[in-house]
Symmetry: C4
Subunit: 265 residues, 4 copies
């Protein structure tokens, strides 16, 4: 069962025991207050940005067929798109808002607390527990998930548990651990590859483990599935996703052309 | 010869013997009522959606050179684009509206009944009998036909009568039979391939046969031609077309790179 | 030397000896009348269409780097874009209007007659004599020239003087001779390939010869350069260019994958 | 330390010793005057053009992940985008304006003089010293830097210090030295390739040396990084970049297909 928690926007979050009680119904004034969380004339407000960015990701082939997406965390609020919808047609009113941190880490086995849920019959993104990994382990402000074919082809051509490329200018656009200093041109970029699972939520533990084992990793590839990339904010998450996608694409071209992708200095 | 049947929009359909008489001319007031069927300020009205979706399919390379398109069925009305026109430049006034069901199933050998025809010298899509297969055999609410090169290349590299791929996340976006539950990551996606015919209408019987022989098939590939994909509504037809097109594209890349496309568990 | 001839739009063309006299200067009222030829609120007016279509061709990669373009002939007037400009940034005021027929066929060796020339320091498209081939030999209403890499790759992989492909649905979108009935799925599409010349205008004679020797040809490929495609009007020229470009693209993919591009029935 | 110099737009530049003194703070009236340099209703003003062009370069895949960009010099003023930002989201207010010439050539080791700097915490493009090479050695009015994969793949498949291709129509869109007459179809296009360096600024000397050693070169490729292209103005820089990118793309396709890229006449 899922509880809905409300707050008056834009004041500070107040978690009272009564508002978090599972099953409690929202009053109309609370619904209006919750909707204020996704209503803004500012194009850079997360509820406006997520639809715009998802539409541009669609044009890049990253989120076709309802897959993939982006979440944005602004301090103690997390904005998340619905699952199973056309990502290029999301509207601000479709956005979920969750408090951060949650009383317990989101997983398929715990109830989630919401600050705002769409009135439509929508479910929050199945990536939610994976996004939470990025918040909890890297203090991320945003996390992007794509099904880019460049990422998937990389997981097919790099058969082990690590993608590697060196000596490419675009490596410099990636940050150590996703939230540290940018890599140098002389660094070898390494991205861990984990196995896919039938249910997206079940990637949570193996993704968390790969992040812990590889603290310098800026992203996690999921074999035959796609990638999760995070950053301090949506700008950094997005530009790092672009750099990584570029590197997967050129690495695949190089591998197929017989060009080594890692040079020894 | 083709009869034109009119109705007052938006009331329920009334098929009277006089209005279905072949060759009967429409009176002006009937024409106005028929035009109301394709006149709406709602961007999600089928007469507005079909032009918008066809323009986006054009940008994807699915419907260039006048080929391909989408039809939408809303209960007892079917909205269909014209044949032989630039699909990215369709206007709502170009849309045909047919009643569903038709007195007899549309084929090249029977007259079709229309609720509304464009005043221009246009002919309804040559895909009409194929779209009807999707309505009659899967109760579809929408059917999409593309000439995507990914689909055509798949029919060239899979020489038998079935395209197959396993262990790809995007398989989860496809529904059993096109209108059932979504497939699992552990399911192998299979799409029947039928031979092309010189006249598009003549695909009707072999497409129908493949749909009957393969009740789990979510689409039918036509060798050296393209694909037909259907769904409960336009959203599901479109997202399934995107998932399938993604899978054909990556399967072709995998095959050309020597990577097996079906894994044994 | 180039003469400028004016007319009052939109009346019928009057060629008087005085207005065609080489070197005669235009009076201001004549300039205004000439500008009326490219001034219209109708988006389908050739002076508006050419900029719009060139911008869409740019997005397709057909006319980057100032190359390529489209001309439109409406009865006795020919609308042509300037040469050497960014094709995605053309404005109606940049368009040249020439009478058809010209007193003598345009070539690098004869002066051209204009109904309207831009005030800017622009030169008409270097393709003008090639476009004229399409008017004179096929009575075309429009001709398109692209530098599409699909066309150029086809001229590199088909080393003889003819590109051929059979058994592709998109063949049905091409017309016999470019202006006749559409081809059948059972027809083999053949497009002559001529050698490139250092000066674009010098292609005129070899293109004309190929058109005469192959009256069924719907287009002429120029090796290491691109393609010329024509049609009865801009719609047919454009959709045939799309079909041909699709066929070159898939033929190149097939050839590189070792799949035969022509089947014997 | 970096000094900021102001001037009243749009009058001629006056370099007084007081305004160039390192570390001097700007007064508010000076800031307003400086902002006038990037405030214009003309879409062709450099401060408006750079954001528009960068957005279109982003769609071409040339400047994703914050890399690449364009600078424009109009007489004695140079307009430059910031470094490390999303290039498709630049606004006129983000643009830097520098005087040309600078008291000393920009390098990592000298302070730069600005006519206008954004109020935000931004840094001018790391390409600035490379752009200066184009101004100083070719009197360029604009210089473009891309990370296009076509350029990078060319530097990987051409292992020596020179990319070469002959007998392609698009060669005609490139100018000798970048600012001379256009090449002929019979000319072989040659683009020098220099090694990448960990810091972009450190390319300055090797790029300058390659430009001096190859006065006919219209651009400089940087291995595993991208390309620098210049021209008399932004139009010529852009169309030459398009021609070169086309030639790298088709040359890579030809090389991978086993087709020679240089023919002996």
């Amino acid at each position: 069962m899922t509880a809905i928690m409300t707050r008056l926007a834009p004041g500070p979050l107040r978690l009272s025991s009564s508002t978090t009680a599972p099953g409690r119904e929202l009053r109309m004034s609370e619904i209006d207050a919750a909707d204020a969380l996704v209503t803004s004339a500012d194009p850079l407000h997360p509820a406006n940005l997520i639809p715009e960015l998802c539409a541009s990701f669609y044009r890049l082939g990253w989120v076709t067929g309802t897959g993939g997406g982006i979440c944005i965390r602004t301090g103690d609020e997390v904005y998340i798109a619905p699952s199973g919808v056309q990502k290029e047609r999301i509207e601000p009113g479709h956005i979920f808002v969750l408090p951060y941190p949650q009383p317990s880490s989101p997983s398929p086995h715990t109830d989630r607390i919401f600050l705002r849920r769409p009135k439509l019959n929508l479910k929050e993104s199945a990536c939610t527990p994976l996004f939470w990994n990025a918040f909890e382990k890297r203090n991320a402000g945003s996390c992007i998930h794509t099904h880019s074919q460049n990422a998937v082809m990389a997981t097919l051509l790099w058969e082990g548990d690590m993608f590697e490329i060196s000596h490419q200018q675009m490596i410099k656009g990636v940050r150590k651990g996703g939230n540290g200093p940018t890599l140098s041109y002389l660094d070898t970029l390494k991205v861990p590859i984990i196995a896919n699972t039938p249910n997206e939520e079940d990637l949570k533990d193996s993704m968390a483990e790969a992040m812990e084992n590889h603290p310098d990793a800026a992203a996690i590839l999921v074999r035959r599935h796609g990638i999760y990339v995070w950053g301090d904010d949506w700008q950094k998450a997005k530009t790092q996703t672009e750099c990584l996608d570029y590197l997967f694409e050129i690495a695949v071209k190089m591998k197929l052309a017989g060009i080594p992708t890692v040079l020894k200095d």
